[in-house]
Symmetry: C2
Subunit: 339 residues, 2 copies
């Protein structure tokens, strides 16, 4: 049996949620990842360092209940809204590696998102000065844009930020369009998180012959050309493209309904799916850097100490974990976690 032991991975973009949902999903991130950056679009959202500490406490308390988990570290972010000030940024710098900016209304929990970036320039200035990463959901919310153009349309916003704040480090989250890939290649201070589903899916997997809500996420999976442009960077081992799963659990009934929530729950299957995908492309040796090195280096963090082991044994992904349906539910993949 083929096995693969690599440095414990980082997930630089995950939605751990709260309360009952946190109870359900935490184990999957805690078992398989050494460190995660927990997104702040909780309800209520994490807007200041005062919100961050109790949330991190909630997560770590739950994680400690299971003493067989490997070391597990939480990184935090505040959400940048119209109400964020430079003072808030400076105060949040200690517990937070990043400030996450959602344009208004583009995805789950973005109803308090930003409608105009210009009033936030002093905030970006403060982030630049204190070394806080600007984490961008890079979709333009303008009503005039077709959904699949939103990321490309956002690039002029990104361009403006990059030129006004030349020392601000930026992560273009869950890159989904070839325009986003090009921007990362073009701007020294912009990197991207890459999700497993944007490496695997296209629009055909969302609205092909059937509609597949468990593949529906924001930004929406796009063309073959987009998916392949992202995959190319991962296969080439480009250090500015690193794993952020955007694992985003929703109760099944809020996905399979008339008004379905955006988000793919992939934490249990991300590493097996990536191993399978990279192996298929003869690039299994790229896995560890993509999942366990490049992101940490971009954020200026030490690498994780632990390891995880994957084994090449066909594994049928469960149809659901309690009431949450994972990516690739019911399908067989060639790798699984050894633990």
């Amino acid at each position: 049996m083929k096995t693969l032991t690599i440095r414990s991975p980082d997930d630089f973009h995950v939605h751990l949620r709260q309360n009952g949902m946190l109870d359900r999903v935490l184990i999957h991130s805690a078992k398989h990842f050494g460190r995660v950056l927990a997104m702040p679009n909780t309800r209520p959202p994490l807007l200041t360092e005062h919100d961050v500490y109790p949330y991190r406490g909630e997560i770590l308390t739950k994680a400690l209940h299971e003493n067989d988990w490997s070391p597990f570290e939480i990184l935090s972010a505040i959400q940048i809204t119209d109400a964020t000030t430079p003072e808030i940024v400076r105060a949040a710098r200690i517990p937070c590696v990043a400030g996450k900016l959602y344009p208004a209304g583009v995805t789950t929990g973005s109803d308090n998102g930003v409608s105009d970036i210009e009033p936030l320039f002093p905030v970006f200035e403060a982030m630049q000065a204190c070394g806080m990463m600007l984490s961008l959901h890079g979709e333009h919310p303008g009503a005039q844009y077709d959904d699949i153009d939103r990321e490309a349309a956002f690039m002029h916003v990104l361009h403006r930020i990059v030129h006004l704040f030349p020392d601000l480090k930026i992560v273009l989250e869950h890159v989904s369009h070839r325009a986003g890939v090009s921007a990362v290649l073009k701007y020294d201070n912009v990197a991207a998180t890459v999700t497993p589903h944007h490496l695997l899916l296209t629009m055909n997997d969302v609205h092909g012959a059937k509609l597949q809500p468990h593949h529906f996420c924001k930004p929406t999976p796009k063309r073959f050309a987009d998916r392949d442009a992202i995959l190319r960077q991962v296969l080439d081992g480009h250090p500015k493209f690193f794993l952020g799963t955007d694992s985003a659990p929703h109760l099944r009934e809020t996905k399979e309904c008339a008004d379905g929530c955006a988000g793919v729950f992939n934490a249990p299957v991300t590493m097996p799916l990536l191993a399978e995908l990279l192996e298929r492309h003869g690039a299994l040796d790229r896995l560890e850097d993509f999942t366990s090195r490049f992101g940490a280096e971009w954020y200026g963090l030490r690498l994780n100490h632990g390891t995880i082991t994957l084994e090449r044994v066909p594994w049928k992904v469960p149809e659901h974990y309690e009431t949450v349906v994972p990516l690739w539910a019911g399908r067989t993949i060639q790798w699984r976690h050894a633990d």
Copy 2:
């Protein structure tokens, strides 16, 4: 109160289904339309004239049960599959105005669709000779195409048919892309049916901030530019663009699920929605030609004798009709059927 009485409309593309579903939906077509072309992708499909007569009998028997309905006429089509022969076409010419061709696998009930048109050339020849309309679901099934490109990719197939069979009359069904609009304008013998939902929706209404399965259909609603190109022809009163609702009922549980069926049930709301849309564009006077003249003229049929009356009274569309959710469910529109 403003009312509008127009010639009873034709629906040149409707899925009436069978059995229990036919029981549920027939009343909406029978009450609001004078004549409909019932699609043949039933289960089993209508492949020869022998299948057509009993199906038409089933529909008319059910329609007669309700004696307050206006005169209601059924037009029929057979499905063109790899097994269709010129003999089948000639025999079906009496009960059928059209032969409907689905490429394999592009939509609901297209699993027996056509994979290669070339072996069907003798069939097209026979259709041309006996004056049977070729009704095309114009989406290329090739796995290499992104879903939103399928209609544009089909245009080279259409081009080939048009040039090889210059006297064959063709309807490009449920036109959804500006390339389809251009083809209709370019080829004398090609017209298009237009659905209410392709005049109203774009991809943003299917996979915007939320996923909306009741807007999911094939071909999928596309860009603003596509929707507006179709609408332009209707507003201009182009006689080769006429109503075919593609009303396609599915049980709610087969829409709101992990693997949702394609199809929009619009029969109860089509005429009110069209009145509202055309009025908003100052083109209410285009309604009657679009719904009650152009299609009949294209098919060479007499116009309907009856009338329908719409009244300008705000009306909340029901959340569901039994277990089927209609287009615009729960939303208020400005027109309603007076009967």
